[in-house]
């Protein structure tokens, strides 16, 4: 029998939205004891940076009746808040039925309650709409909280403190303790490096996936190069797949391919930077060979755009345009919307100053030249190939027909007026979406689809598989964040039920 330093009924590993939601549920809906262990010195995980939650038939949607018009130009015909059935179908259709119907239904059916709980705790919602205006089939299920993810996590943190959840920062979980085939606790290391044995009747893995582990990105996604080409959206995150390792150590089944929530930015810069804002536009995109490789209109469908960038084996793409197009961005504005970072048809004012400044500093991610040949030299791509690509592109601009990729004429701007610009772009892995297979109660299952360890091990949030197929190309904005909070609560309720018998 293991000697424990302390015992809890429920132990939650990870303090993001999913972990806090789980712990808060245990503490507020039962008299069971619960603790959260967090690896970093701060609580909140990637959830602090998320923008909003996806949900169907929420109290906010019921009260508001119609979606908020993000463009100010009127909602498209038929725009409406989705029913649960519509949201469920969106997951199943876009995943080609590779999503788990159990997990999808469990999430969607409980997603509205998440909004109500967060609202009752003090979260205020600014609007409910879609996220990326240009993504045609997107559902109007994105709930934008005032203050974003940071505010939501602050509210949940308070709620956990108020409900006496024991929370330890700088205390990573290292190992599951198993006796007679049942999880009985967790080994953790405290901030001073001491190993502590923590007893638990149920353990909830909420470690946020593995977006910061290049090895796991290569191994568990269908892009075995992405671990070498991606950049993180924010420095300092530590989602390295610890939950996945812990689950694997007790025989969990792992998804064959884990999808990525991804995007693109100029290397070393964040979403919202002027160079990123301009580089994301559907101008001419060329690969490191100087060749066009996609219909750049995909920029409007953000999640697909991330997938496109992730496919580049060397992770290099350049967005090429001329002086006229830069003026167009400054006056007519962005073709795409990206939450708080970019608004459709709103002038991009930070592009030119940042391009000029970075270029003057010799930043190799920004090229500017009076000839295409010189531009190619700065980019390190073959000059003839780039010239040929630009010539073809200009012909498409003149004829209004893009025989190569069928991009609509309104997005094809000729590249003729010097100076010419090229912005280097690279894939950004925002988070991984799953890995550990679970059932509808978020219990970790084995290959036989039965819960492992007599059912007292759970995986939630980014750790849990089930919502997606092999890509996050879905039309349900706020999916991962809505799922994080909702799956945490579902797991907690099952843990309470199991412990109380």
């Amino acid at each position: 029998m293991t000697q424990f330093d302390i015992e809890y009924d429920v132990v939650v590993i990870g303090s993001g939205g999913s972990g806090k939601s789980a712990a808060y549920t245990v503490a507020s809906e039962s008299n069971l004891s619960v603790a959260i262990f967090e690896k970093l010195p701060e609580f909140g995980g990637t959830s602090k940076f998320a923008e909003g939650q996806g949900a169907a038939e929420s109290i906010e949607q019921k009260e508001r009746k119609v979606p908020f018009d993000l463009t100010g130009e009127g909602l498209p015909e038929g725009a409406h808040f989705p029913t649960r059935e519509e949201m469920i179908q969106a997951y199943l259709d876009t995943s080609h039925y590779r999503a788990s119907s159990e997990v999808v239904n469990a999430f969607v059916d409980n997603s509205g309650e998440t909004i109500e709980i967060l609202r009752n705790l003090g979260v205020e919602y600014e609007y409910v709409s879609c996220y990326a205006v240009g993504q045609e089939n997107e559902l109007y299920c994105f709930h934008q909280p005032k203050g974003g993810g940071d505010a939501v996590q602050a509210v949940l943190q308070k709620a956990c403190e108020k409900a006496d959840v024991d929370m330890f920062a700088s205390t990573p979980a290292k190992e599951l303790i198993v006796e007679d085939g049942k999880i009985v606790g967790v080994k953790v290391n405290d901030a001073d490096g001491n190993e502590l044995m923590v007893g638990a009747k149920a353990v909830i893995l909420a470690t946020g996936g593995f977006a910061q582990s290049p090895e796991k990105l290569n191994k568990y996604t269908n892009m075995p190069w992405i671990g070498d080409t991606f950049q993180p959206p924010i420095p300092g995150l530590q989602c390295t797949g610890d939950g996945l390792d812990l689950a694997l150590s007790v025989g969990a089944d792992v998804s064959s391919t884990v999808p990525l929530q991804s995007g693109a930015s100029t290397p070393g810069k964040m979403f919202g930077a002027g160079t990123t804002n301009a580089g994301l536009q559907p101008a001419l995109w060329v690969n490191s060979k100087g060749k066009r490789y996609v219909n750049e209109e995909v920029a409007l469908a953000l999640m697909n755009m991330g997938t496109v960038y992730c496919q580049l084996r060397d992770g290099i793409s350049w967005t090429v345009f001329d002086e006229d197009y830069l003026v167009f961005l400054e006056t007519e504005g962005s073709a795409l919307a990206m939450g708080e970072f970019l608004q459709v048809n709103k002038p991009i004012r930070n592009a030119r100053p940042e391009i000029e400044e970075n270029f003057a500093q010799g930043d190799p991610t920004v090229a500017k030249a009076d000839t295409i040949a010189e531009l190619a030299a700065q980019m390190g791509v073959n000059a003839d190939a780039l010239q040929k690509t630009v010539d073809e592109y200009n012909a498409a601009a003149d004829s209004g027909v893009d025989p190569r990729f069928h991009k609509p004429a309104k997005y094809i701007h000729a590249i003729r007026k010097a100076p010419f610009y090229a912005l280097k772009m690279c894939p950004v892995v925002v988070c991984t979406c799953g890995g550990i297979n679970v059932n509808r109660d978020m219990q970790v299952v084995g290959y036989d689809e039965e819960p492992v360890c007599t059912g007292n091990l759970f995986a939630v949030g980014n750790d849990a598989s089930g919502l997606y197929g092999d890509a996050y190309t879905i039309d349900v904005p706020g999916s991962t964040n809505g799922f994080a909070h909702t799956s945490g609560r579902i797991a907690a309720r099952k843990a309470i039920e199991i412990i109380k018998g």
Binding site: D164, A191, N194, L196
Partner: protein, 240 residues
């Protein structure tokens, strides 16, 4: 002799939410650890390394904060309304200090959350109070207190019991690890009912909306001039 470090005694105003409908909602329902609390414990320990160190709090829940930082025991005061007036909070704390007997020093965060309490506490005890304390060192029977003074610091020598209102300069460096916290939870905690004397209370005579800060746009046509204007504006606001 006993030194007392007061912690978790003020409500965090950031927990006060004013909704779009004007309704006020508190996210917390008890005082929480303030930014200065760890420094208050440190100062009490440095002032009298050989004396007994007692933590005094007005919070419920986890009361091991001072114990995890060296306090031998903790006294938890119960029964003070979370929105009690500063005079009442100071009275409750002063009476708890008096009840402990032979106390040589009380240290408390120089809290921006409830700035009147440290001085009111000293007044109720009839002791001197030093505000904006950075650090202390004992020298024989005297305590040399370093406090912020203008742009620099000043050393003040005091003898006899004193209230030190401590202002932390930075976040706590190394927080106690879990093992230390678990051990601290085993130290004694006396829960006592607060006694609030007959103290004057303040009455709000009126409310004033915060004056809206007009934002100022600098014309960026000449970046150097705009930057100079910004620097000068920040200087005149006391930011730089």
């Amino acid at each position: 002799m006993t030194s007392i470090a007061i912690f978790k005694w003020a409500m965090n105003p950031h927990d006060e939410r004013v909704g779009s409908d004007g309704q006020i909602k508190w996210l917390a329902e008890r005082p929480e650890v303030g930014d200065d609390d760890y420094a208050a414990v440190q100062v009490a320990r440095d002032a009298a390394p050989d004396d007994e160190l007692v933590g005094l709090t007005m919070a419920s829940g986890d009361t091991a904060f001072a114990a995890a930082r060296g306090a031998e025991r903790t006294v938890a005061l119960q029964g003070v309304d979370i929105l009690a007036q500063p005079t009442e909070v100071a009275s409750a704390l002063a009476n708890a200090v008096k009840a402990m007997g032979d106390v040589s020093l009380v240290s408390i965060g120089d809290s921006a959350w409830s700035p009147m309490v440290p001085s009111l506490l000293a007044a109720q005890l009839g002791w001197p109070c030093i505000l904006a304390v950075d650090a202390v060192r004992p020298e024989g029977d005297t305590l040399v207190v370093t406090r912020r003074f203008g742009a620099g610091t000043q050393d003040v020598a005091v003898t006899g019991p004193v209230v030190l209102a401590v202002a932390a300069r930075r976040e706590e460096g190394a927080k106690p690890g879990m093992r230390q916290v678990l051990q601290a939870r085993k130290r004694p905690v006396d829960t006592v009912t607060a006694s609030i004397g007959d103290v004057p209370t303040l009455e709000a005579a009126g409310l004033r909306e915060p004056t809206a800060q007009a934002s100022k746009l600098f014309d960026g046509a000449d970046p150097a001039a705009a930057a100079a204007q910004l620097v000068s504006a920040l200087q005149s606001e006391g930011v730089l």
